[in-house]
Symmetry: C2
Subunit: 255 residues, 2 copies
């Protein structure tokens, strides 16, 4: 199996290295990932500036290509320019932080998987919920993630499908409560800002929002992750509101 590995935390990120060490047991792995941290860059792409690349070696792991761009750029570039043949699987992660609820739309990790789906490839995004009271252990998370990816492949993951996996905060060696196939929560977060004055008296703002898992729809990714489950959410990229579409198609519209 030929695997493309990317992420949004940058090519040196511990989560990516841990995922690499699992994936390499299952095939060849090409790493093409952002040069720098690209958290919350959503599905941005680079169209007005050139994409600089360089070969980067992570000691004891791999030599890959660092791209001065977005996660989605990495997937486009890897598939159309850098790899000799299309990968059999695209993996994005492991992200340092959960990507559930509307965060799915902000997430560069998920955007990389969605970009792979645009290109007709099967893909998974893997994210790890971080909690201050649980020491982060990406090696253990990657071991669990690999088992989940294997099951997803057995379920018949096809080209053009992007699957988002979220892992609960896991002390090393511990097992999660189980696996749940759940939809994306659509409830809003509460946005908060810390307002300050710069030395010239102009306002500036720090985003201080705490993305908690409270206030979730009960059958959603957010609530299952909060209960300690691994969540699997199959994604699609048709943003049409088909219900409202049908309703409005029956109305007369004219200029």
């Amino acid at each position: 199996m030929r695997i493309l590995l990317t992420n949004d935390d940058g090519i040196m990120a511990a989560g990516l290295v841990a995922m690499y060490r699992q994936l390499i047991k299952h095939g060849t792995v090409d790493v093409v990932a952002p040069e720098s941290v690209q958290s919350a860059t959503g599905h941005g792409i680079t169209i007005s500036t050139p994409l600089l690349t360089q070969r980067v070696t992570v000691e004891g792991a791999f030599t890959g290509t660092a791209v001065a761009g977005r996660p989605a750029d990495c997937v486009k570039l890897a598939v159309t320019q850098l790899m000799d043949q299309a990968p059999d699987l695209v993996v994005s992660g492991i992200n340092a932080g959960a990507n559930v609820g509307i965060n799915v739309l902000y997430s560069g990790t998920v955007a990389a998987a969605t970009e792979a789906a645009f290109l007709g490839l099967p893909s998974v995004a893997v994210s790890l919920y971080l909690r201050p009271e649980v020491p982060t252990n990406f090696a253990w998370a990657a071991e669990i993630a690999m088992q989940v990816i294997e099951q997803i492949r057995q379920a018949g993951l096809r080209g053009g499908q992007a699957i988002s996996i979220n892992l609960p905060a896991l002390p090393a060696g511990s097992k999660p409560a189980g696996i749940r196939i759940v939809r994306q929560c659509t409830r809003p977060w509460t946005d908060t800002y810390d307002r300050r004055k710069d030395p010239k008296g102009r306002d500036y703002f720090w985003n201080t929002s705490l993305f908690t898992l409270d206030n979730a729809e009960p059958d959603s990714d957010v609530s299952s992750l909060r209960e300690g489950y691994i969540t699997i959410t199959p994604l699609q990229f048709d943003l049409t509101d088909h219900q409202l579409l049908a309703k409005w198609q029956s109305r007369p519209w004219a200029l």
Copy 2:
């Protein structure tokens, strides 16, 4: 009516100024828009650096707030920090370029409208298809867009709904073929890059993709825009693939 106006081309963009001149006939308009061009930044937000702001006057039009951030940041900041009360309508655009098909996911213009929907507000994104052979006239496009927005409001636009409007390339004074309510096309674009060497011998890449309107699903936004229609696409932000979700929920999953 209290209106928030933003975009992804920056606060000085001709498309935004033209839209302002129409909207101001219908209520008060607060302009909070990116300081610089944010095309193709998708639904990125700024969480690790502060959001600098400054008051900017566009002569003969408005004084608004320029935000050194993404379109979605502008909406969050305007609604939670800058406006005394929530707007009755959020308008994003007019974007210089169409936002149809999978471009909807790359689009900062659409992300601003979706962010407003997250916050429970009614919103519209307006984009103008640019063709080299048709001189761009944002004033005329805004006049047409305003008529479409009025009809959308009459149709009963509610809080939490984001509507994407695309206008065909229009010579000033000309009428489009009509209005169509259509879904987002999900066919891929063809990605092309121009590969070069920097003076140190490292590879870099320019994205040279031409986003044409060819190869579209017949009942979609892309094909209707190509035929000269105004397209209206109601959007939603649940990315779950509900069909695959139901299928996989009936399978056994275990660690």
